[in-house]
Symmetry: C2
Subunit: 322 residues, 2 copies
Amino acid sequence: MKKLREIKLKDLDTQAFIRKQVKEITRTVGNGTAVNALSGGVDSSVVTMIAHKALGKKLKTYFIDHGLMREGEPERVVAFFKSRGVNVQLLKASGTFFKALKGKSDPEKKRQAITDTFYKTVFGPLVKKSKARFLLQGTIYTDVEETIAGIKRQHNILAQLGIDTKKAYGYTVLEPVIELRKPAVRVVGHALGLPKSIYNRPPFPGPALTCRVIGEATPGRIALVKQATTIVEKELADVPAFQCMAILHEDRVTGIRNGKREFGKQIEVRCWDSKDAVTASPTEVPFRILKKIAKRITAEIPGVVSVTYNIASKPTSTIEAV
Amino acid sequence: MKKLREIKLKDLDTQAFIRKQVKEITRTVGNGTAVNALSGGVDSSVVTMIAHKALGKKLKTYFIDHGLMREGEPERVVAFFKSRGVNVQLLKASGTFFKALKGKSDPEKKRQAITDTFYKTVFGPLVKKSKARFLLQGTIYTDVEETIAGIKRQHNILAQLGIDTKKAYGYTVLEPVIELRKPAVRVVGHALGLPKSIYNRPPFPGPALTCRVIGEATPGRIALVKQATTIVEKELADVPAFQCMAILHEDRVTGIRNGKREFGKQIEVRCWDSKDAVTASPTEVPFRILKKIAKRITAEIPGVVSVTYNIASKPTSTIEAV
């Protein structure tokens, strides 16, 4: 395992970086084939484009729809990459993921269930079947840092935790953007000709909306937070921010609807100012917008009576709630 | 039971109202004695002063410290009323209340435990021992309205729910401010010569800080929310608002402290603009202050990693969380 060193944004020679990564992938994969999983986030999109440049049809890209993404997102992303000539396939697997998440409330167990289902149950067999010996991943510098520091177990950190993927899963993992933090990845994405909606897309966690429900991630609770996410992202679209999100709480609070008591649900909204996700502070969203978000969520989502806005910074908060 | 009609603030002749209530209490109690419980809130303070005017030493006032009030509050309130010649006694009973609250997470069960402990276990025997046949209470119009509508069970609504207090507890309940809403009660308090800190005090629920913890009200959780309440009230002291509060959630969220992951607690801050508590909207507190509150709470209260601010209105929210 090579020693990891961050390439800071100010030191990044974008074109040279892309050339170097393309060359390295071409050399490493040789006459073999590679696979990767695309989520539509900036990291995996950049990796897909770099690997596509290097390997063309020798790269097989899978978009695994675990049912935990934003509304309509899997279809939109796959259509875009197909239009760029990428050899990408959409796989619907939400039933498998929800089965693995059933009964799990602990954040680490939820993340573990996603990792295991993703690699062992769904993606692992695909890789084996493809006979590819190389797996490309969109791991970035912050993921490694946080996992090693013990803050949060990122789903895609394997080698850094001492897991020999060749031995455990039968393939070698290549991580072309591991030396970069998010802002540098965006610059590379721009240089690769990705549209702004992708290279500037707000970060979205690997375990996706499971991180946005406190407690068990059931199909019903995921559907609810998906609806809240659509509202929050729509209403905050014009607010310049690093990332914004809706979180479904498990706590119940007293509310009132049509003059009657309703012991209901609460949604927490977070919107972050941040350069690199290492530290972050709540965006000063105008109250007019915050109140509109609360009004829409309580009016449009059944059972939600209360909405809050995060006012703590990272640290002591983290960006995601679980 | 006489038919209840609201006296609106614009129709209130304050001096005439006080004279009428004093006269009615004097007439009803006659040569007997009366007792009342003082909490330091504007309602019970106004009732204490009116009854003191009517009855002098024939009124025995108890301040029951259930351990669920703000820091230092019982001592401060009792000292003030003693200085006005009121026959008031401070009774420490927190052990009894925490025992009754043990294992109770449901908001209605918590409220019921407080009501029962207050009336049956602590105050009831005191009233019996005093041989008083009259109990004065600070019930206001909104309490009746909300309880009858089934929104929230107010601790002090008995007759309106069909409970015959004379039969159940052995005394008659007198409610001199039951026709008034909060703003009118404040005007009467001012006219009675109460200090601004009392007649203008933000409302505080009967079950006190038990309403400010979601889930079980243990001594430790009450101590935590007490500390948060002190910070929130201090930092919002100069913000004009109807009421502000800190709420301890039961949900745990991921945080980070000293570079290490901390699965920690969350405090929700609410600050309301309202005329009469029937409808309310979140106060547009400057972000500078909200961020300072979050910083102080996460720095000063062990285990709290996240702080939110309520952005929903009543309805669909209620003012208190539980």
